[in-house]
Assembly symmetry: C2
Homo-oligomer: 334 residues x 2
Amino acid sequence: MPELRKDPVTGRWVIIASDRAMRPTDFVREQVIPKGGRFCPFCPGNEQKTPPEVLAFRPHGGGRNEAGWTLRVVPNKFPALRVEGELNRQGEGIYDHMNGVGAHEVIIETPDHLLTFGELSEKQVEDVFWAFRERVLDLKKDRRLIYILIFKNHGEAAGASLEHTHSQLIALPVVPKRVREELDGAKRYFDFKERCIFCDIVRQELDTGPRVVLETEHYVVVSPYAPRFPFETWVVPKRHYSHFEDIETSSIHNLGWVMRATIRKIDKVLERPPYNLMIHSAPIQEGAMTHYHWHIEIIPKLTKVAGFEWGTGFYINPTPPETAAKFLRDAGLV
Amino acid sequence: MPELRKDPVTGRWVIIASDRAMRPTDFVREQVIPKGGRFCPFCPGNEQKTPPEVLAFRPHGGGRNEAGWTLRVVPNKFPALRVEGELNRQGEGIYDHMNGVGAHEVIIETPDHLLTFGELSEKQVEDVFWAFRERVLDLKKDRRLIYILIFKNHGEAAGASLEHTHSQLIALPVVPKRVREELDGAKRYFDFKERCIFCDIVRQELDTGPRVVLETEHYVVVSPYAPRFPFETWVVPKRHYSHFEDIETSSIHNLGWVMRATIRKIDKVLERPPYNLMIHSAPIQEGAMTHYHWHIEIIPKLTKVAGFEWGTGFYINPTPPETAAKFLRDAGLV
């Protein structure tokens, strides 16, 4: 019997189609293995082919926009939004529009073209999160920007246009609808229970166990109760903070290990699948919230989103999260 | 300068990235051309390979579940939901679930394996909508079912698992979140203006013109003001009805011509792209609504949905709807 499950935060229902339960090898997927061999603007020596850097880590020295970096952040050469200008909100009959003011940056995670995110060292992965934090703290000073999404598209099928491993950051002048829904859902739960829903999820998952992938001092990695996609995986900090950028040094250090282990498990079980990774965090101009809790969502690209999903916002997931978590747990730490 | 536009119904913002404005030929897409040559359960003679039919048109006679039909509706052999049983709503700590009760049917639009939807005759297309209507009116009698989505996945990249042209229908025991958002948005507008937002869209689009693809006695076909996807196209009836199944005979007759012309324009301009088509209609157990207006949405599959879209619900659309509408308008009636 298929089961309908409700996401406790957003209220979205999903269909867990356990009748057609799919195992990792049942999915048709494109293996992500960087090939190299073509010109790459993210490789060392090509620093002039990107807009000037806004941040770089150079532990052994070296000049700005020259080789020698271990991580580099640059504005996107083809930005979805522009940092210059005013919003200029306007009507057009019944419609509303404004200028596309915002920021769009690329975090080049390593100088090595052939490594994937899961193949970076613990220290390199940790550095990626330090870079995210530093960029958010800087962009936050611009009061026009009220929400920042940090995300990673891994593999062409997941939307990556360059294969050299990188993440992206888009700063927006509005709080997106999807984020507002999550904030509102968490607020409703808090108003009712006077507890954070994510803190409750952490507690219940650790208590019951079948959806836990791994646990460390600072984090729990779980297959969520009502996942939209097979092998969807959440990394949730145990300690309550609404904003990612408020993360503590010991927690960011632990995150390097946790993210590396999680991605390596996904790479092993699903044979290096394409995936998207997103940091869900509170709007940057708002103060600390007792009801919201930052976390990371990872969605391997294994199924196609089709008419039913577009028309309803319902998702049909052929792999129960308990099955997915068991595969990931059993994969060891590779 | 990129522009942010707001969908007037749901309040979702999209980024119209006019800087990187893409023309039809810029998209990498998979041409959908049925090949045939393999066993197909939807072809005449294979009626025993599907569950028994729930509806069929046999203008020249013939027995049930035998060849001779021009259109045939059967339950999905691998249904996402099952029609038997009770919902049995239950909690599981902080989580909620219920049994996957519902219906999942397939509308086989023609006996001819090699025709696509756009290649059917006007009469055949009209018959498809008659079949949709008849199935909704029948399923509506089951009071457990409160929402029906009718949709079509055209081409493998858009989620079709069989190439023989067909549509699907899924009847659900809950109103999906995405539908609820559209209903609520339309309600808010009505409460404020005492007018239907879709009636206002029809009026403003016909007044201004640049987003109109075609107009007939009963319908307007437009590129919506804030489309999520390039060449997203809406077919909106001029006359206000909240429920598709209340459609009048003259309107369904006109719809055969309108849908055929619209799909043929899309096939011509985008060279037979994969696409999804969805009928947006009011929940079947609720009475006629002054604030909601049924319509059809068509989304060609030209771009990839990636981390930014998943994380925010924002979409980046590289083709302004005014450009898309011009291409479709200029394509003629082929």
